[in-house]
Structure formats: C-alpha cells, structure tokens
C-alpha cells in the first residue's frame, strides 16, 4: 500500500521528468523562447515554432469558457436555489451522462451538427465563408465538454455557502434574488474563479474532439471562423511521422511537456484558491 502511495505521489514528477528528458534534445539546439514564439513550423527543415499552435489553443480555450462559463453559473444558481424537484431529477442524470460521454463522440457530434451549423448559418450572419472546421467549432464543442465538469464544481461551491449568511441577509429585508446577487455570488466568487480555472485547464488539454472539428491548419488564426491547430491536436496528429526524425519527436514531447506544465499550474492555482475559501467558511 505504501509502495502504491509513493508511486501515485511520484507519478506527476515522473511524467514531467520523462517528458523533459525527451525534449532536452531540441532544447540543446534551439532556445525555449525561440521555440515558443517563432511561428515557422517546417519539421523537415528543422524549424519548430510553436506560436501558431499556442495561439490556437488559447483561442479555443477562451471561447469555450466564454460560452460555458455563464451557462454553468446560471445553471448552478438555478439548481441550488430555485429548481423544482422535476428539474433536479432530469438534470442530475443529464450532467452525469454528459460527463461520461467520450471525447471522440463529442467530436463526431461536432462534425455532424456544429460544423455544418457554422458554415451554413452562423458564418453567413457575419458575411464570411468558412468550411465550418474552425476555431469557433472547436470552442463550442469544448464548451459542451467542460460544462458538466465546471457545473459540478460550481454546485459544490454554492452548497458550501453557510445557511446563516442567507438567513442574515433575508432577515434584514433582502429579497431572495438580492441575497443571491449580493451575498452568495460575492461569497462564492473565489470558488467561481477556480471552477473556471479548472475548466480552462480541461479545455486546454482536450485532444480528439478538438482535433476533429478545428481544421488543423498550421498558421496563426486570424479570426474565429478560420481553422486553427491547438497543441494537443498537433501532438496527436503527428504521431507516426515523428518516429523517423529524432528532433521532431523531441519537439512534440516538448509540446506535451508545455501542456503538462500549463495544466498543472492552472490546476494548482485553482485548487489552492478553493482550499483557501473553504478554510474561511
């Protein structure tokens, strides 16, 4: 049991070190700064600029949170404060099933519904033409994927608000909505931020679903209707090709390492924030 425990605790470090060792090869050749901020991606010529991929990742991640954030917040308040029993009875299984659907299914759904929707209905509204395989499609699919995840955390956050606080607010004459707006949201604010942070990091690492709808063109996207190429998709798409070129292999492992670091940092910050708030309950 102790061995298992040590193994689990060491695992994140082992993963980090393993990926770092593999990416050292390319770091000896090119500086990290140059790799992250150069936009030239020509593996065969030995040019590995991650900038377009990082920008794409940021685009889809931010869009997904912009969509999922408000929906989750509103739903969480609804479910914890107002919802009738029948709504709860529907929503609990709905959230569970949404959380359990594999990402490849979200990808299939994206190509079936979201991609045509964008190319036929949304893009014409903005007078642009697109195949639909775009940053926006990636953002929407990701939004649906992180909704159950963020929603569950938000529900927990709202549940931890002490009842006394609500009672005090109501007893001085505030209405229910005023209590929610001025007391609950303020009290839950750090929790809300950390739920969003965890959602962001989940979006940032999601691979297959995004890969299927985002278009995968390696240039810096100029708008939401243009195709993009996020980091995880880059790693997944080039497996096989990379084996023959050591430097290429190393570059992709570096991409995975960067992904790991970003996600772990976001997770750390969000979880510390949650723990801090719970302590002052």
């Amino acid at each position: 049991m102790k061995v298992a425990l040590v193994l689990v605790i060491l695992l994140p470090f082992v993963i980090g070190i393993g990926l770092f060792l593999k990416s050292r090869l390319i770091l000896q050749d090119v500086s990290l700064w140059e790799l992250l901020f150069s936009s030239e991606w020509r593996p065969l010529a030995g040019k590995f600029g991650f900038f377009p991929f990082i920008v794409s990742s940021l685009w889809v991640t931010v869009i997904s949170l912009l969509i999922a954030g408000p929906i989750c917040l509103l739903t969480a308040i609804h479910l914890t404060q107002y919802a009738d029993n029948w709504v709860l009875k529907i929503m609990h299984p709905v959230i569970d099933i949404l959380a359990g659907i594999p990402s490849v299914i979200y990808g299939v759904w994206g190509t079936l519904v979201i991609v045509p929707l964008i190319s036929r209905h949304i893009a014409p509204l903005f007078n642009t033409e697109t195949s639909g395989y775009s940053i926006l499609a990636g953002g929407i699919v990701l939004a649906v994927m992180i909704i159950p995840f963020v929603l569950n955390i938000l529900i927990e956050v709202f549940k931890t608000i002490p009842i006394e606080l609500t009672e005090a607010s109501l007893s001085v004459g505030a209405s229910k909505w005023q209590t929610i707006k001025l007391v609950h949201i303020r009290k839950a604010f750090p929790g809300i931020i950390s739920a969003f942070g965890l959602g962001l990091s989940r979006s940032f690492g999601e691979t297959i679903a995004v890969l299927m709808v985002v278009g995968n063109v390696s240039k810096i996207p100029g708008g939401v209707f243009e195709p993009g190429y996020p980091l995880p998709a880059l790693i997944a798409n080039n497996y096989g090709e990379m084996l023959s070129i050591p430097l290429y292999d190393s570059a992709l492992m570096l991409a995975a390492f960067v992904l790991l670091i970003v996600v772990v940092l976001f997770n750390l910050a969000s979880r510390v924030l949650i723990i801090r708030t719970e302590r002052y309950k």
Partner: protein, 286 residues
C-alpha cells in the same frame, strides 16, 4: 415602490434565463445522443458487430469492427482491473491507516486531484516514452499500462469519496471489538461500501473505454482480433476516428454506427452506476 418592481423584474428576468440555461444543457445532451443514433442506427448491422474488417473495408467493402469492440473491452477491462488492484488498497489505506493524519490525507487528495487534471494526451505521450524506455512496442500491454495510470487517480478519488461517508464511529466500534486495521478495512469498510465501489469502478471503466488520446500512441491499431498482450490492438474510439477521416460515404456511415455502439455502451454503464449509487445510498449509515 418603483425600485421594488425593478428588483422584482430583475429577479424574474434572471429566473427565466437561468431556467433556460439549464434546459439548454439538457437539450444539448439529447441533441448529441439523438444525432449520433439518427446517423448511426441506419448503418448499424449485425455484420458491424460480428465481423472483423475484410479486404477493402476502408473503401466501403465488407466487414465490421468486432476487433475494435473486443480490443476496447480487453483494454478497459485490463486497466480497470489493474487500477483496482492498486487503487482499492490505496483508498482504504488513506481512510483507515492515515485517518489521524489529516494534513497528509489532504495533501494526498490534492495530488490525486492534480493527476486527475492532467490531459490524457500527456499520459499518452508519457506512456510512449515509457514504452521506448522499456523496449515495448505499441501493444495491448503498453495501452493497459498507460490507461491504468490515467484512470488510477479517478478511481482512487471516487472510492475515497465513497469511504469518506462512513462515520468514524464504525471504525472505533470495529477496533473496540479487537479487529486489526486490515480486518476493519476489508471486512467492514469495503463490505459496507460495495455498491459505491462498483460505481467508482464503472466510472473508471467508462473513462478507459472512451479515451482515445492516451491509446493513440501506445495501443496502436490493427484489423485483426487481439490475441496477445504484446500485439497492437484496435480500440473503439480510434476505430470511429479513423473511419470518419476516410472520405468515403460508406466508411463514414460506419463511423457513425460505431459511434452509436460506443454511446450505447456508455449509456449502459451510466444506468448501471445509477442503480448501484442508489443502492449505496440505501445502505449508508447516517
């Protein structure tokens, strides 16, 4: 008076959009399941689930994805079993042996949550490095190891949440009757929480069977039935992914049918875990 009505109007407005956002979420789930079944069920045939890919399968000729279904079940089953062997003692250990060390337990939970947050593609890339280091080829075994690492934190945390609900009084009662820590762990705590444990196992199994990014590098893909641990093995998510990327209508339709099969499996797992979760709530000591 005017202010009062304004506040009331604001509340009504927000109640409406809050209700709508809940309904949007529910509608999205139904849309996902409906669109997959609508596209997938017409192409679903007995051949799909009873045959392996024949020559020209990827040009729309005969065959099925039995190899991927069986491969996925082997992979998810194997890794769930392995994760269970490591995870169950770990979850019990945290809650029984370390029960007095609150800080340590919280630190371990923090670590597990952190591991849970690591994207599966990173596990895949790490599994791939590990494979090369150990001299393994893309194989069922490499896949099982990688997926085990991926689902272990999920399983341990889920079990931990279940065991946490047992009141400390039960632990004290068990000790006072002279049982050892291990007896308390397996005879009392485990027995008491079996339905909850099954839910945790099903959750991990669902994760393992549905994930594509972690097996892409490690399990590989083949058109043959999996026969040994050292052979590459097809998996359902990758079967869907590869078929969908072929620009031929028949093959894409079969991708939708495969997606319908996967959704069906996930729904069954979800229903089963609901049943066990309900059972667990009935058994719970308060």
């Amino acid at each position: 008076m005017k202010r009062q009505t304004l506040i009331k109007a604001e509340e009504i407005f927000f109640r409406v959009i809050m209700f709508m956002s809940s309904m949007i979420i529910a509608a999205t789930l139904f849309l996902i399941i409906f669109s997959i079944f609508y596209k997938g069920l017409p192409s679903l045939s007995w051949d799909m689930v009873s045959q392996t890919p024949k020559g020209g399968f990827y040009f729309g000729k005969e065959g099925g994805i039995l190899n991927a279904i069986v491969g996925s079940i082997y992979l998810a089953g194997g890794s769930t079993l392995l994760a269970l062997v490591i995870g169950l003692p770990l979850a019990l250990f945290i809650n029984i042996h370390l029960v007095s060390k609150k800080k340590l337990v919280n630190a371990i939970r923090f670590f597990l949550d952190l591991l849970w947050g690591i994207p599966s593609i990173v596990y895949g890339a790490f599994g791939f490095t590990l494979m090369i280091y150990l001299g393994l080829k893309t194989s069922l075994l490499a896949g099982i190891i990688t997926v085990t690492l991926f689902i272990l934190p999920i399983m341990v945390r889920a079990m931990d949440e279940v065991i946490k609900t047992i009141p400390i009084g039960l632990l004290e009662a068990s000790y006072s009757l002279g049982s050892t820590k291990s007896e308390t762990a397996y005879r009392i705590f485990f027995k008491q929480t079996i339905p909850g444990m099954v839910t945790a196992i099903l959750l991990s199994f669902g994760r393992a069977i549905g994930d594509a990014a972690s097996v892409l590098f490690t399990t590989g893909y083949t058109d043959h039935m999996p026969t040994s641990l050292t052979q590459p093995t097809a998996t359902l998510p990758l079967a869907i992914f590869f078929q969908l990327s072929v620009p031929i209508k028949e093959v894409q339709n079969r991708a939708y049918a495969s997606a319908a099969i996967l959704v069906f499996i996930i729904l069954i797992i979800s229903i089963l875990s609901r049943i066990f979760a309900r059972k667990f709530q009935k058994n719970q000591i308060k």
